[in-house]
C-alpha cells in the first residue's frame, strides 16, 4: 500500500508540474483537498463579507450613476461568492457547512473587510487599492492547478478588473474636484494603504504554507513578491492622482527597479486576523443575522418544494 500511495502522489505531482489541471474526479492527496477547500471557502467568504463595507454606501451614493455602478459591483461580489462556493463543493464541502464555519468564526475571510467605510472616497479606494490587490492575488489563480477553481477565477478576474477601473475613476473624479473632495480622497488613502498591504498575508518567513502551496500550484507567487508588485504598481498611480502614499520610507530603488517601503504593523495584522479588527464583530454579526433571520424563508422554500413533489407523485 505504501508504495502504491507514493506512486499515486508522484503521478499527481507530475501532472501538476506539467500544468495539467486536476479535476474533481481525479485522485488527489487529502492535504491538497483540505488546503484547497480552506483556500476557496475563505475566498468565497471574503466575497460574501466583502459585500458589507461597500453595501454600507449603496443607499448614500452621490449620484444615480454611481449608485447603479456600486450596486452592480456588490452584486458581482455575491456572484463571485456563488461561483467559489460551487467550486469548493466539487471537493466535497457543503455550502451549509462552509457557512456554519464562517458564522462560528472557525473559517477566516480577508481581514481588509474588518475595516469601516467612513466616506464616499472609501468606495473609490476599495475599488482602486483593495480590488487592485485582489487582482494581483487572483490573476495567477486563473492558472491554478485545480480546474474548477481556475475556471471560477477566470470569471472573477474579468469582473474585478472592471471594479478596479471604476474605483480608480471615482478617485480621479474626487482628485479633479473641489478641495474637500481631494481631501476626502487623501484621507481615505491614508486609512486604507496599510491594511491593503496586509492583504498579501504575513512575510514569507512567517508563512509556513507557502512552500507546499507553491509546489501544488495553488499559489504561484509568494506574499512578499506580490506585495512588492503591488507597491510598484500603485505608487505611480497615486502620483498620477496627486495623492501622497502615507509611508515616509517609500523610495525608488534603482538597483532593484522597485520601491523600498516601510514595514507593515504586523501586530495590527495579527490582531485583525484573530478577530479584533475595528468591524470584525459587526461583520460577522451582520452575516449571522442574515442567516438566522432568513432561516424561516429557506425552510418555507424547502417545505413548498416537498409539497409540490408530493402532489406531483400523487397525481
Amino acid at each position: 500500500m505504501e508504495t502504491l500511495e507514493l506512486t499515486q502522489e508522484e503521478q499527481f505531482q507530475a501532472r501538476i508540474d506539467e500544468d495539467i489541471r486536476i479535476e474533481p474526479k481525479d485522485w488527489m492527496p487529502e492535504a491538497y483537498r483540505k488546503t484547497l477547500i480552506r483556500q476557496i471557502s475563505q475566498h468565497a467568504h471574503s466575497e460574501l463579507v466583502g459585500m458589507l463595507p461597500e453595501g454600507n454606501w449603496i443607499t448614500r451614493a452621490p449620484s444615480l450613476k454611481r449608485k447603479s455602478i456600486l450596486l452592480a459591483k456588490v452584486q458581482d461580489e455575491a456572484g463571485h461568492g456563488l461561483y467559489l462556493y460551487s467550486a469548493a463543493e466539487t471537493l466535497g464541502a457543503s455550502r451549509d457547512q462552509m457557512l456554519a464555519d464562517l458564522h462560528s468564526g472557525k473559517a477566516k475571510y480577508s481581514s481588509i473587510f474588518n475595516y469601516p467605510t467612513l466616506s464616499w472616497a472609501d468606495m473609490g479606494t476599495i475599488g482602486w487599492l483593495v480590488d487592485g490587490a485582489a487582482i494581483l492575488n487572483q490573476v495567477p489563480l486563473c492558472r491554478t492547478s485545480y480546474g474548477p477553481y481556475a475556471r471560477a477565477m477566470v470569471r472573477v478576474c474579468k469582473e474585478e478588473s472592471f471594479h478596479q477601473r471604476q474605483g480608480f475613476e471615482i478617485m480621479q473624479t474626487l482628485c479633479e474636484g473641489a478641495p474637500e473632495q481631494k481631501a476626502m480622497a487623501q484621507e481615505a488613502l491614508n486609512r486604507w494603504w496599510w491594511p491593503t498591504l496586509m492583504m498579501f498575508g504575513p512575510k514569507d518567513a512567517d508563512s509556513p504554507n507557502t512552500e507546499q502551496s507553491m509546489k501544488w500550484r495553488i499559489k504561484r507567487f509568494t506574499n512578499d513578491e506580490l506585495r512588492q508588485k503591488f507597491v510598484d504598481m500603485m505608487v505611480p498611480q497615486a502620483e498620477f492622482l496627486g495623492l501622497t502614499v502615507p509611508d515616509d520610507k517609500l523610495q525608488w530603488n534603482e538597483a532593484k527597479q522597485g520601491y523600498d517601503f516601510g514595514d507593515v504593523d504586523w501586530a495590527e495584522f495579527w490582531d485583525v486576523v484573530k478577530g479584533n479588527g475595528p468591524c470584525s464583530r459587526e461583520r460577522l454579526q451582520a452575516r449571522t443575522d442574515a442567516w438566522e433571520q432568513g432561516a424561516w424563508v429557506r425552510e418555507a422554500a424547502l417545505a413548498h418544494a416537498a409539497k409540490r413533489k408530493q402532489r406531483a407523485e400523487a397525481a
Binding site: 460574501l48 459585500m51 458589507l52 453595501g55 449603496i58 443607499t59 448614500r60 451614493a61 452621490p62 449620484s63 444615480l64 450613476k65 454611481r66 449608485k67 447603479s68 450596486l71 452592480a72 456588490v74 452584486q75 455575491a78 456572484g79 461568492g81 456563488l82 462556493y85 464616499w120 471615482i170 473624479t173 474626487l174 474636484g177 473641489a178 474637500e180 473632495q181 451582520a286 443575522d289 442574515a290 433571520q293 432568513g294 432561516a295 424561516w296 424563508v297 429557506r298 425552510e299 418555507a300 422554500a301 417545505a303 413548498h304 409539497k307
Partner: protein, 266 residues
C-alpha cells in the same frame, strides 16, 4: 446651455399637457427610484445568496428605469435640471411616488408582498404604456416591460412558496398582506394629473389595469392558498406629495452627499 441628446422628438403638445407629462414622468421616476432604493437596502443581508442577487437585480432594473424617466422628465421640463438634480434635490413633499413603495422592507415577507402588489400594477401599466402616443415614454415602457415580466415571475413564485410553505411563512405573509394591502388602491386611483393625461389620450384607463392586476393577484393567491382581502380602506396621498413618515428618512440617506456637498461632480 441645455441641449437635447435624445433622438426621439419631444411630443408636440400644448404647454399644459407637457407640464402634466413632466409631472407624470417624474412620478414614474420617483416610484422606480424609491422601490429600487428599498430593495438595495437588502444587499448583503438577504436570506439566501441567490435571493440577494435577485433583489439586487430587480433593484438595478428599477434604477435603470428611474434614470430613463428622470432624464426624459428633465428634457420635458427644459430648464437645465439633470437626473441627479431631480432625484437628489427635491424634498419629500415634492416626491410623487405612491405610498406602497416607500414602506420599509420589514421581513422578507413584507418585501415580497410589497413587490408583488407593485409588480402586478407595474407590469400591466407598462404593457399599456407601450402604446402611448408619447413615443419616448412608449420606448422606455417597451424596454422595461421585459424586466417587469421577470420581476412579477419572481415575486409571484415567492408569494406561493411563502403562502404554501410552513406555518410560520404563512403567518408572516398573511401579516404582510394585512399591513400592505391598504396601499394597493392608490396605484390605480388617478390623480388630477393622471386624469388629464388619460383625457388627452396619453395614459390608459386605470380600470382595465386594475382588473388585470386583480385577476393576477387572485390567481397567485389561490395557488398560494391565501385569501384576497375584501373591503379594506385604501390609503392614498403619495402621488400628490402626502407621504408616510418613512420617506423623509429614506431621502435623508439617499440625498446625504448632494446635500452635504452641494454642486460637486462625483
Amino acid at each position: 446651455m441645455y441641449a437635447s441628446t435624445q433622438s426621439i422628438a419631444l411630443p408636440d403638445v400644448a404647454p399644459e399637457v407637457r407640464q402634466h407629462l413632466f409631472e407624470y414622468v417624474l412620478q414614474l421616476a420617483d416610484t422606480s427610484l424609491i422601490l429600487a432604493h428599498r430593495l438595495s437596502e437588502w444587499c448583503g443581508h438577504g436570506p439566501i445568496l441567490e435571493q440577494d442577487l435577485a433583489m439586487a437585480n430587480i433593484s438595478l432594473d428599477l434604477l435603470g428605469e428611474a434614470r430613463s424617466y428622470y432624464q426624459y422628465a428633465a428634457e420635458l421640463e427644459g430648464r437645465g435640471r439633470t437626473e441627479d438634480d431631480l432625484a437628489y434635490l427635491r424634498s419629500a413633499v415634492e416626491y410623487r411616488n405612491p405610498l406602497l413603495v416607500e414602506q420599509p422592507n420589514g421581513d422578507f415577507a413584507q418585501t415580497i408582498v410589497r413587490q408583488f402588489l407593485y409588480d402586478c400594477f407595474h407590469y400591466h401599466l407598462l404593457l399599456q404604456l407601450q402604446a402611448s402616443p408619447d413615443r419616448h415614454l412608449a420606448g422606455i415602457a417597451e424596454k422595461s416591460v421585459k424586466e417587469a415580466a421577470y420581476h412579477i415571475k419572481w415575486s409571484a413564485e415567492w408569494i406561493i412558496r411563502l403562502g404554501d410553505g410552513t406555518d410560520e411563512s404563512r403567518r408572516r405573509v398573511e401579516a404582510a398582506i394585512a399591513s400592505l394591502w391598504r396601499y394597493s388602491g392608490e396605484l390605480t386611483t388617478p390623480t388630477p394629473t393622471e386624469q388629464a393625461l388619460q383625457a388627452a389620450g396619453f395614459l390608459p384607463d386605470y380600470a382595465a389595469i386594475q382588473q388585470q392586476a386583480d385577476t393576477q393577484v387572485a390567481r397567485v393567491f389561490e395557488e398560494a392558498t391565501l385569501t384576497v382581502p375584501q373591503g379594506v380602506f385604501m390609503q392614498k396621498g403619495g402621488k400628490t406629495g402626502r407621504h408616510s413618515e418613512h420617506l423623509g428618512y429614506l431621502l435623508t440617506e439617499l440625498q446625504y452627499m448632494q446635500r452635504a456637498y452641494p454642486g460637486m461632480k462625483w
